[in-house]
């Protein structure tokens, strides 16, 4: 077996050194009645060639998103070849969490740079070294707000991605916390400030919201702060922050986000990378790993994991979160992509996205039976179509166009079956737009 270096001869020698006669003897502590006495009912091991064939056949049974207008929390962007090359460097790919800083300065410096980039991008003071993804970061933000405010009620905007809202509700329900979720807010008209009372620990608002609308969060921030609550802002499309005022500028207390858009492929939903940023004052209530700067015994600048007194391996049942493994390699991809872009490149990428979406929206608005609902948006907007959106998407898929996310996929039974979320990023060409329009006109 190509992955196992020991030969039968090696094994025999090693057993002799140990003083056991057989391989089975090493399992003497396992009760006889739980030892497996038959071979597993699984295929035998296969060579690379066969495994490749098998998996490639599965992959071919998926329609890869080449003419695709899907978004709703996961976005198709171009990833520079150097990003994927660098994250496959053995020293990044096959290292562990940097517990031994002396021989992990590569990973640690990357995390320090990542934290700085995330803080800058969100307009916040500090950020952590990544979470699993945007939705779990969002749920952690609610828990953190409870710790900070010593209250236990979160108010969720109707513009929050329904899956994010579900994740928050699931965790809160088990943790014994309260959650108020507002009705789906297609036009970003909800008055969430009216929901803030003295029990509310935080308000969670998304921008651009799940329907694509941009929001000025300042009034909500002010209302929160007046009541002693925190404003948690959610950003599911990190590229938008190259063009849209960041939550930090509006006074958000915690910003969480999905970082997939930078450096990470769609990959059917994971692995992604959660962003988590907050104000300096809340530092010690922040979940997740943190990398900090210090000096070594020779006085040289060094980086270490720090404030681990908050973490599970020290604090155990008093920890700020139970996170251990997070999204290091995805954070690396995010950070490299952002380094390549730089401020100028990110702004241009964001403009290219916005331009592409505006152009598509303008063309779609001219299609009979289609209405663009958004006044403002970044690279995603909501269509009202003259038929069931989910069925329309299926019909378009047969014509080679993945047309978007029907709102009913996220909110079944909400009476929003005629709404379709449509995204257009820098990868969509003019021909893609034309194909979409043509397929849509044919299918409506």
């Amino acid at each position: 077996m190509r992955y196992l270096p020991l030969t039968e001869d090696d094994r025999a020698q090693m057993r002799e050194a140990i003083g056991v006669p057989t391989a089975e003897a090493l399992y003497a502590d396992v009760p006889k009645d739980v030892l497996l006495t038959r071979p597993l009912d699984l295929p035998r091991g296969r060579g690379e060639m066969e495994v490749e064939r098998h998996l490639a056949a599965l992959a071919r049974n998926n329609v890869a998103a080449s003419r695709s207008f899907l978004g709703a929390g996961a976005y198709r962007h171009h990833i520079p070849a150097s990003v994927d090359h660098l994250i496959q460097r053995s020293e990044f790919l096959t290292s562990y969490t940097p517990y031994q800083p002396e021989i992990s300065q590569g990973t640690l410096q990357v995390l320090f740079e990542f934290q700085t980039q995330v803080a800058a991008l969100t307009g916040m003071e500090i950020a952590n070294a990544s979470m699993y993804d945007g939705s779990t970061a969002c749920a952690e933000a609610a828990l953190m707000a409870h710790r900070v405010t010593k209250r236990r009620k979160a108010v969720l905007s109707g513009g929050l991605h329904p899956h994010y809202a579900e994740v928050v509700r699931t965790l809160s329900r088990f943790a014994g916390d309260e959650v108020d979720t507002l009705a789906p807010d297609v036009f970003a008209r909800e008055d969430i400030t009216a929901q803030i009372d003295d029990d509310v620990s935080c308000v969670i608002v998304q921008t651009p919201d799940v329907f694509g609308n941009l929001r000025d969060l300042s009034p909500i921030a002010r209302a929160c702060h007046a009541k002693g609550a925190l404003l948690v802002a959610v950003v599911t499309e990190a590229v938008s922050l190259g063009l849209v005022t960041p939550p930090g500028d509006f006074g958000a207390d915690i910003v969480v986000g999905e970082g997939q858009s930078l450096g990470n492929p769609l990959s059917f939903g994971g692995p992604y990378v959660g962003l988590f940023a907050t104000k300096q004052e809340h530092l010690r209530q922040m979940p997740g790993r943190l990398c900090g700067e210090t000096v070594d015994a020779d006085g040289r600048r060094s980086f270490v994991l720090t404030l681990s007194a908050r973490e599970q391996h020290i604090r155990r049942d008093k920890a700020t979160s139970n996170i251990c493994t997070n999204s290091g390699l995805c954070a690396l991809a995010f950070s490299i992509h952002l380094t390549l872009l730089g401020e100028a490149g990110l702004r241009r990428l964001a403009r290219a996205n916005h331009a592409s979406a505006v152009r598509l929206a303008e063309r779609l608005a001219r299609v009979h039976g289609v209405e663009v609902l958004n006044e403002t948006f970044f690279n995603e907007f909501t269509l009202r179509v003259s038929s069931d959106a989910a069925r329309l998407v299926e019909r378009l898929a047969e014509r080679g166009v993945l047309a978007g996310v029907p709102v009913s996929r996220l909110l079944p039974g909400a009476g929003l079956d005629d709404l379709l979320l449509v995204t257009s990023t820098e990868v969509a060409t003019n021909e893609d737009h034309e194909a979409f329009i043509a397929a849509l006109e044919g299918a409506l």
């Binding site: 077996m1 992955y3 196992l4 270096p5 020698q13 050194a17 090493l26 502590d29 497996l36 035998r44 091991g45 998996l55 599965l58 329609v63 998103a65 709703a72 929390g73 996961a74 660098l86 020293e91 290292s95 969490t97 800083p101 002396e102 021989i103 590569g106 410096q109 740079e113 990544s130 699993y132 939705s135 779990t136 994740v167 000025d216 190259g242 849209v244 999905e258 492929p265 990959s267 059917f268 939903g269 692995p271 990378v273 040289r300 404030l307 681990s308 049942d317 008093k318 139970n322 251990c324 493994t325 999204s327 490299i336 380094t339 390549l340 730089g342 401020e343 990110l346 403009r351 152009r359």
Partner: protein, 484 residues
Amino acid sequence: QEEPLLFEIGRADVTGVDIDEPEPFTPRLGALERTAPIGLPGLSEPETMRHYVRLSRKNYSIDAGLYPLGSCTMKHNSRLAEKMARLEGFANIHPLQPQATARGALALMEELSRFLLELTNMSAVALSPKAGAHGELCGLMTIEAALRARGQAQTRRTVLIPQSAHGTNPASAALLGFTVRAIPAGEDGIVHADAVAAALGPDVAAIMLTNPNTCGLFEREVVEIARLVHESGGYFYCDGANFNAIAGVARPGDMGVDAMHLNLHKTFSTPHGGGGPGAGPVVLSARLAPFAPVPFLLRDGDSLRLVEHAEGTQSFGRLTAFHGQMGMFVRALSYLLSHGGDGVAQASRDAVLAANYLRARLRDVMTQPFGDRLCMHEVLFDDAFLKGTGVTTLDFAKAMIDEGYHPMTVYFPLVVHGAMLIEPTESESKRSLDRFVATLRALAESAQRGETERFAEAPRHAPRRRPDETAAARRPVLRWGSRQ
């Protein structure tokens, strides 16, 4: 040569990505355009390559050397798995595209599930947890949902956890509002049924047991413990972090386990990536299966469907935005198909053999907390052999760095003084193990000879010497530019 920070070499007007400025158009941003400087320096592509290549060279990695971190299972990561995860049909599919256009993905999830269920002899698997600790949450939530269905969610608020457990166990339990009741281990390092019996009661929701445990020992009384827990109305959560000792050899389902997370990034070799991403699917017993989170796979005759909404089911809800770590599923399945049933069992046996070999070759110069006995896939030493030398476990670990090795896990489990937990995995050749033995023996003998300086000063041959962690925590500097 030192590598500066990105922020010291990058510039806001430099970019390594060429994107055309769009044709003029009418923005739809309202008044929300970002105008102030963001503070994100860029690098050209050559500078980017050099920055990260140079940083990478300051890291240790499994590709470059033995990585004996106990409890972490740093085994070989194949490049086949990386290649497979990058197939266009896996890497470039959207989680919300019509399920009919993602049949291969669903089939892959089902095939992976089949492997995991046969390996564990369990009934169902929740694929969406993002890592081991997330899997723990998932398992405990499933248990609570089952208790709720029985009307006992309010009364059973205690979780039994041995003191040797990973910190994530109590942290997960506490996060969900459970009270943690510690169970002591016996003198022999394992949990005894009578200790469990003593701790059980009508308030107990579950026990969380790691098996093999973090002392490297198999919990010999596991079957009896499971029986006691079940009898008392609780559930048995098993921390699967150490599954690499027994995969293909013994099955948790046969031990009475109700829920167990599998760390795909440990047992099934998806790379650790400097701290993730992982994947922590949770296998469930028949009693718990109905309460698994959404999304879950349902087979309708010939076709597969992902159920994405809990309404109308007993599912406890949603744990994460999408379906789980698909990229890791591909890699894990690549591992499993490559090994096959036979190979997985052989890998476990080799991992246990390697740990015992280290034990046998080191037992005369290092000390074991629970006597010289068979271990599973990791071997635990304590610091008794360093007594009186002035050398601490930490010193010993740092001295290993100077010999070209990553240290083992130290000071864990907490129940053992100066613990050193070594997990060689099945990926090391005998020659590699022999060299490692020779190094550790030489270090132990050096310490015993009183050559304390090499330990106190270690490491001296690494990119850095020991950093001042206290200063880092006292005045945290978490981003560039914030020191001023």
